[in-house]
């Protein structure tokens, strides 16, 4: 019956992992782990008390009992009233303590996010994330999809919007989740403490592909972040060889350009992920497949079989078009 003990040890061991609330790499998540430990201790103690009382109550040897057999079924022994008072005080004190602890943790979370030095806007769509880095100089705005790069130690303010249904922006290793609600603008604060590669996922049921709507989070040093940001500002790389040129010609004139945008090319679609620096990302289709040539072929040829029901149609490409497109997309570093 030592539920509490096993419970605590199991959690601590399995706290590695890319998407884990016990990662503790973000300020808010570190607060979460500390508060969670405090709650666990108090709850385990309460649980042990109750279990012990129950076990003893059921299996203890007893002589005089106040039961119907001895016609004393209405009486109660003198000790029950003080025991009840002690028990009520114990519960009240425990709960008030926990409430105060949670209140102070909430205040420290709010303090962490109060002076942001980086501002993003994440707009959730049905089953992918549209990420924009805002900057006072409008022409320095970077637009990417399904990935977020954060400089370590810099508090970031993430403005959350949704184009269709309610989603939830959740990167367990950094911070708690916040919903993205159409018609409303909510915000989340991220303050990464340690560098690393993490993964966030949509946590509010948002339709048929809710399960495959993840985003890759990379926390890196300030210098690495600035290099990445500068690279993202460049337009899409022009095709280098004839195969890439054929791919470029297909992507920027046929079905792809109706939805996708590649800066520096006539493809200007605004309703699907921005592909300008597609090859520099870690995964395809909002975390559905890791980024490699095989998955790229599989995805472009028939997206409906990888992520059935999503809004990218199966175009039914001829073999040479497929090779050309994949060659061109792989060059979009």
């Amino acid at each position: 019956m030592q539920r509490g003990g096993a419970y605590l040890s199991l959690c601590v061991t399995s706290c590695a992992g890319v998407q884990n609330a016990f990662g503790g790499q973000g300020a808010e998540d570190a607060n979460f782990v500390r508060l969670f430990a405090v709650f666990m201790v108090v709850c385990t103690v309460m649980y042990l008390i109750v279990s012990a009382a129950l076990v003893i109550a059921v299996w203890r040897r007893r002589q005089a009992t106040l039961t119907i057999e001895d016609r004393k079924h209405h009486e109660t022994s003198a000790a029950t009233r003080p025991a009840l008072i002690v028990w009520t005080v114990l519960i009240a004190v425990g709960l008030v303590g926990l409430t105060i602890a949670s209140f102070f943790t909430d205040r420290s979370n709010a303090a962490n996010g109060s002076k942001p030095r980086l501002s993003l806007t994440v707009t959730a769509n049905q089953w992918w994330w549209d990420v924009e880095y805002n900057s006072p100089d409008a022409s320095k705005i970077v637009r990417t999809a399904n990935e977020i790069h954060l400089p370590v130690g810099v508090p970031a303010q993430v403005t959350l919007k949704s184009n269709d249904v309610i989603h939830s922006f959740w990167i367990p290793n950094l911070a708690g989740k916040q919903d993205l609600i159409p018609g409303r603008v909510t915000d989340a604060q991220l303050l990464p403490r340690k560098t690393g590669l993490f993964r966030g996922q949509c946590a509010e049921f948002c339709g048929v592909q809710h399960a495959q709507m993840a985003l890759d989070v990379t926390v890196e040093s300030k210098a690495a972040f600035d290099r990445w940001y500068a690279a993202q500002l460049q337009p899409g790389r022009p095709p280098a060889n004839p195969l890439q040129l054929a791919g470029y010609r297909y992507v920027t004139t046929r079905e792809c350009s109706s939805c996708h945008n590649i800066s520096g090319t006539p493809a200007g679609g605004h309703v699907a992920p921005d592909l300008t620096h597609f090859a520099s990302r870690r995964s395809i289709a909002a975390g559905a497949l890791p980024m490699n040539r095989g998955n790229l072929y599989g995805w472009v040829a028939d997206p409906q079989s990888q992520k059935p029901g999503n809004h990218m149609p199966t175009v039914g490409l001829a073999a040479n078009d497929l090779h050309a497109i994949v060659a061109y997309l792989e060059a979009l570093k």
């Binding site: 805002n134 409008a138 949704s162 018609g183 409303r184 945008n261 679609g269 605004h270 309703v271």
Partner: protein, 558 residues
């Protein structure tokens, strides 16, 4: 020329018609162009010939005024590409041609500018300046000055990049092209550019005031009116709205859109620019006409100024040498702006009227066509008043994510327009630019989409969208005479001296344009957002007028 003169006063000096005798005006003759689209172009009368410029398919007719009934001498049929109608946002219209030393210059809807010999009707040259596959069309009336034909494109709703192009009048070859967005070398902004206010001064503002690459599809089209000052050799024109209408999708001031350029006509270099509506939220292009007059300043000396009743509802009077604002007063009902700060020249927006994605914002006045759309006002030096035929329309606006596909509309907004306070959709205002106040105002039920004409005899002519052609007293605004034409009037009335010396008044009558689209394109009034929201305000137009395409010419009986 359409504006009667380079200063676009639309004032005819003839004095035969006076408030006393205008009562017995009667029809002298009529001419039907055989088209049913919006008939906006004014007929041009040059040495006893009236040139009638029809809307789609842009036919030109030369009528011999010497013969009774003015039969057509020749007809010029340019046959523009039909696909252009698919990218003409507000009706396949044409706002007029320009006559200059024996040639007629006009724009065709499919992006060609043509020169036609005035007496034979033979096409001299045809230059392709705009590409309909990108959504560009030509609807504006060209202006010929200093041997150059100045042409601007339209397609602000199609994600087009606006420009003003100068073609050589004789050969039609491209002289220079000034873009409304993009780097300074594209916008021909050089060393001699001095902006009246600091926020319009800076290098490559046309790129830095846009999101990355958004200036390439940023609008700023030049589809309105040009004015030319021969002494200063400057051409004044306004740039259209930034694209798309969804302002959240294009952060920044979106430089050189919705503002007034003054350019040197020979080289095209900009002399000054003032942005009347930075980061425009409600499609308030600033293409309206600039009337060039000398304005008596309070300290007595006369400043060469330009008067412009802008679409955002303020009547700007600016010094046309350097663009400084002398006065900016509202001439219509406005609740979307809090005025213009004369020190910084910047308009003061009202925060809660700013549309947000995913939420409708209600009761925004003036609506997208603004307090006055493209139909130009007239200035009468006799009374010193500006006669403004304008609108009283408000709207509900909801913006959404706009997807850019070249050749398709790039708007990103759901709009519903409805009459503003007072319930009347049109207002005819006489404005005293010196005293900066309204002298008189006539409330019209339907929006006023027809330009005004002032005459030396103290009369002002304008037409209503259900076909009434009205003459009012220039001083008191009293209605003196009106005539019911066959279709709604959205064209420019003109006045000319006929071969027999009498004063004739001609007016094109053919409903259409953005306001009349419900009739000219027979739209369905059950969809309030149709035609960018105008159908919601014009549900009754179908019962009050039908399509048409006729020029009516009036004169006093012999």
């Amino acid at each position: 020329m359409p504006g009667k003169d380079y200063a676009s006063t639309r004032f005819s000096g003839l004095r035969q018609l006076t408030p006393q005798n205008v009562g017995d005006l009667q029809v002298a003759f009529t001419f039907s162009t055989g088209t049913t689209e919006g008939f906006e172009a004014p007929p041009l009368v040059v040495n006893k010939t009236m040139y009638v410029i029809a809307p789609w398919p842009n036919n030109v007719f030369a009528l011999d005024l010497t013969k009774p009934g003015a039969p057509a001498k020749w007809t010029y049929e340019p046959k523009p590409a039909a696909a252009a109608k698919g990218v003409a946002c507000c009706g396949p219209v044409n706002r007029g041609a320009f006559y200059s030393d024996g040639r007629l210059f006009l724009n065709l809807l499919d992006g060609n500018t043509v020169a036609v010999d005035a007496n034979s009707g033979k096409e001299l040259w045809r230059t392709k300046v705009a590409d309909i596959n990108k959504g560009e069309t030509l609807t504006m009336a060209p202006l010929v000055a200093d041997g150059k034909v100045l042409v601007g494109n339209s397609g602000g709703e199609m994600g087009v990049r606006g420009w003003l192009t100068a073609l050589d009048a004789t050969s039609g070859k491209l002289a220079w092209r000034a873009y409304s967005t993009g780097p300074d070398k594209d916008a021909l902004i050089g060393s001699d550019y001095r902006a009246p206010y600091p926020q319009d001064q800076g290098n490559d503002l046309g790129v830095r005031s846009w999101g990355p690459d958004q200036w390439k599809i940023g609008g700023g089209t030049v589809w309105g009116w040009l004015s030319y000052d021969p002494e200063l050799k400057l051409v004044y024109y306004g740039t259209g709205n930034p694209g798309p209408w969804n302002a959240e999708q294009r952060p920044g001031d979106n430089k050189w859109t919705a503002g007034i350029f003054a350019r040197d006509v020979a080289t095209g270099h900009a002399r000054w620019f003032h942005q009347s509506t930075p980061h425009d939220l409600f499609d308030h292009d600033d293409i309206n006409e600039s009337i060039l007059v000398d304005w008596p300043a309070p300290n007595g000396q006369r400043i060469p100024a330009l008067i412009r009743p802008s679409r955002n509802g303020y009547l700007y009077i600016q010094d046309r040498r350097n663009g400084r604002i002398l006065s900016a007063d509202p001439y219509g009902y406005i609740n979307a702006y809090n005025g213009v700060d004369l020190k910084t020249g910047r308009i003061i927006p009202v925060p809660e009227k700013e549309p947000k994605e995913g939420r409708v914002v209600r009761n925004i006045c003036p609506g997208p066509p603004g307090a006055k759309d493209w139909n130009p006002s007239a200035f009468s030096p006799v009374t010193g008043l500006v006669y403004i035929p304008h609108l009283n329309i408000c709207m509900d606006m909801g913006i959404k994510n706009a997807n850019y596909i070249p050749g398709t509309p790039f708007v990103g907004a759901d709009v519903k327009m409805y009459p503003g306070p007072g319930g009347n959709r049109g207002v005819f205002t006489a404005w005293d630019p010196v005293a900066r106040r309204k002298v008189f105002e006539i409330k019209e039920d339907l929006p006023l989409w027809s330009p005004a004409l002032a005459t030396g005899g103290g009369l002002v002519f304008y037409g209503t969208m259900d076909g009434w052609f009205k003459a009012i007293d220039a001083r008191s605004g009293k209605l003196l005479w009106q005539f019911k034409t066959g279709s709604g009037i959205i064209g420019q009335p003109i006045s000319y001296r006929g071969p027999d010396g009498r004063q004739y008044i001609a007016v094109p009558s053919g409903v259409g344009g953005w306001a009349g689209a419900i009739v000219s394109a027979d739209l369905d009034e059950r969809d309030p957002t149709a035609a960018l929201g105008f159908v919601n305000a014009m549900k009754d137009l179908k019962k009050r007028t039908t399509k048409g395409g006729t020029v009516y010419v009036f004169a006093l009986p012999k």
